[in-house]
């Protein structure tokens, strides 16, 4: 029998909620642990590993120079790198920082002590090193995480669905937010979460990133019909998706 793959979990700037999503899987977690050897997982383990990793699972955004160095080292030591959670895959809420000049936001939080705190514009992990698998979502949707982990272990690729949240939302027979007179980011956001937020009465905030080929003009028409200020929509879109602007450069 071949040895179990060595898997390590790492976190950068994030809330660590995605790691907890994994810990929250209950006894199913033991099935996962039967398939892999977790060699590092700082939040719940004290064990350390000094060799290479078969799979590195990375949560969080890259927000300072120290993190850039650290993620590069992790990448060098890992055969496969999975970015999980919106912070890692698209920058997530940490990207909102990029709405402000760096100096200004540093001073606003730490005042005179700002000099102690190094910071760079928020980057998604994939904007710093090569990422093999993406599990988006804030937090990650556990069934998708398991699916991606299995793909990684089998060495086959996983593609994040490139159709709108609406597809899944409709299958769940939710009353459309637009029908309720509300605007929702579902039509331009990638599915894969089983329309989690809308199932629970809230709108989609776009945490899974945008579909690859959104009909921008069509979406603007729809939004205009509901008398919604474009700035408001842009602002909402930037809650999770601000970092995509770094791709354009």
């Amino acid at each position: 029998m071949s040895p179990k793959p060595k898997v390590a979990f790492f976190d950068f700037a994030c809330c660590e909620g995605c790691q907890l999503q994994v810990a929250n899987m209950g006894e199913e977690l033991l099935d996962i642990l039967g398939a892999i050897d977790v060699v590092e997982f700082r939040e719940v383990m004290s064990e350390k590993w000094d060799q290479n990793y078969d799979v590195a699972v990375v949560e969080g955004s890259i927000t300072d120079n120290h993190a850039v160095e650290r993620i590069k080292k992790i990448r060098e030591r890992s055969k496969v790198l999975i970015a999980y959670g919106s912070c890692a895959t698209i920058g997530g809420v940490n990207g909102m920082k990029n709405n402000f000049p760096l100096e200004e936001i540093r001073k606003s939080v730490y005042g005179e002590s700002a000099k102690f705190f190094d910071t760079i514009p928020t980057h998604a992990v994939g904007q710093v090193v090569k990422v093999d698998y993406f599990v988006t979502g804030c937090p990650v949707y556990p069934p998708e995480f398991v699916k991606v982990l299995k793909c990684a272990l089998m060495g086959i690729n996983y593609e994040v669905p490139d159709y709108a949240v609406c597809v899944e939302c409709k299958l769940n027979e939710n009353v459309c937010m637009y029908e309720r007179g509300l605007t929702c980011l579902g039509p331009v956001t990638r599915a894969g979460c089983n329309s989690w937020c809308i199932n629970n009465g809230n709108i989609c905030y776009g945490c899974r990133g945008m579909v690859s080929n959104p009909n921008i003009k069509g979406a603007q028409d729809v939004i205009a019909r509901y008398n919604i200020d474009m700035d408001l929509v842009q602002n909402k879109m930037n809650m999770y998706n601000k970092c995509r602007e770094l791709n354009k450069k």
């Binding site: 159709y163 409709k170 027979e173 309720r180 579909v211 069509g218 019909r225």
Partner: protein, 345 residues
């Protein structure tokens, strides 16, 4: 075939008894004029005057997600072709949705036959319910001639005030009316009231688009190059709502899901949509319908031409769901009207 009546006073009793013996699904109000077929136990949970449900009853015939093959690396004895099926009674299915089920029956009974669909179909009892009034401005059931019962159900209910007129259409239906003895024989005056309703309906259910549906295939072929398709493409968000809610859309995708042991797994299929980005992509990455306009056009042609050429049956039931659900306001009736105008020119 026989005809019965069910007095309104006994209706609640009928549903309760039915629900004791069977898994009953009926139309349930979800708020904001939205309805959905859901499991019910009592008549009170249902809303019988409803506009078409968000998802049509096709969900009981071809589940959104279904595993159909369980297998492992050995490809040998451990391979099992499976179907998951539950005996169900669907109560309150409108004639448009019955037409949708009939369309799906044709696709899945066409050789090679799809046993997963067919074994599930065998398990479903359909109790239709007539629309006495017109539902809303999106429907075009009169144009498609689907506003009157025309088979495809086991029992058919028509609300005639203080009683339901009940048409028993199949043996399966007959077994149910025998096992739940709440029905009475239909008499002459009952038939008369039914005829009265149908006469009234003839006045309100009139062709909504002003095109004989038999002419639509020709209109479409002649407006293939029309700019109207580009207009639809500009509006369309490619969210796939129109196909997911369509009672005759049946496209699906297939993939494998491995269990955590990485040794056993299953093959599953799930609804897919010709509107989704990747639907018509081949391995090399080329997509045969890259433009959203081409995808919308494909949808219209599929409903009104391709399937007519193949099965001599229209795959639009006139339920109006696609227009009702479209946030970009792509409207089937309006589009047909525009195409007709262009065709006439």
């Amino acid at each position: 075939m026989k005809n019965l009546i069910l007095s309104k006073e006994r209706f609640e009793h009928f549903i309760s008894l039915l629900a004791k013996k069977h898994n009953v699904m009926g139309p349930v109000h979800k708020g904001y004029d939205n309805f959905s077929f859901q499991p019910i136990k009592t008549a009170a949970e249902m809303t019988l005057k409803y506009v078409p449900t968000i998802i049509p009853p096709k969900k009981y015939f071809m589940p959104q997600y279904e595993s159909f093959l369980e297998y492992d690396k050995t490809w040998g004895e451990n391979m099992k072709a499976v179907v998951e099926s539950e005996a169900l009674v669907l109560f309150g299915v409108h004639t448009c949705d019955i037409a949708g089920i009939k369309a799906l029956n044709i696709v899945f009974s066409d050789r090679p036959r799809d046993y997963n669909y067919l074994s599930r179909k065998k398990d479903v009892t359909i109790m239709g319910l007539e629309c006495n009034e017109y539902c809303d401005e999106f429907a075009s059931c009169a144009m498609m001639n689907n506003h009157l019962p025309d088979g495809g159900y086991d029992l058919f209910f028509t609300d005639l005030g203080d009683f339901f007129f009940v048409e028993v259409s199949t043996l399966k239906g007959d077994v149910i009316v025998e096992e739940i003895p709440v029905f009475e024989e239909a008499l002459g005056r009952h038939f008369k009231e039914l005829q009265g309703l149908r006469a009234r309906k003839a006045k309100t259910f009139t062709n909504e688009v002003g095109i004989e549906y038999q002419h639509v295939p020709k209109i479409l072929s002649d407006t293939k190059e029309s700019l109207i398709w580009n207009e639809l493409g500009d509006k369309c968000l490619a969210c796939g709502n129109c196909t997911n809610v369509c009672p005759t859309c049946y496209c699906f995708n297939i993939w494998d899901e491995v269990n955590l042991d990485l040794k056993t797994g299953k093959r599953v299929r799930m609804w897919d949509s010709c509107q989704n980005e990747g639907y018509a992509k081949v391995a090399g990455g080329e997509s045969f319908r890259e433009e959203r306009s081409a995808r919308q056009k494909h949808r219209f042609f599929k409903k009104f031409k391709y399937m007519v050429d193949r099965y001599a049956r229209f795959f639009c039931t006139g339920c109006g769901r696609c227009s009702r659900t479209c946030m970009a306001q792509i409207n089937l009736k309006e589009t047909l009207k525009k195409l007709k105008e262009e065709y006439a020119r």
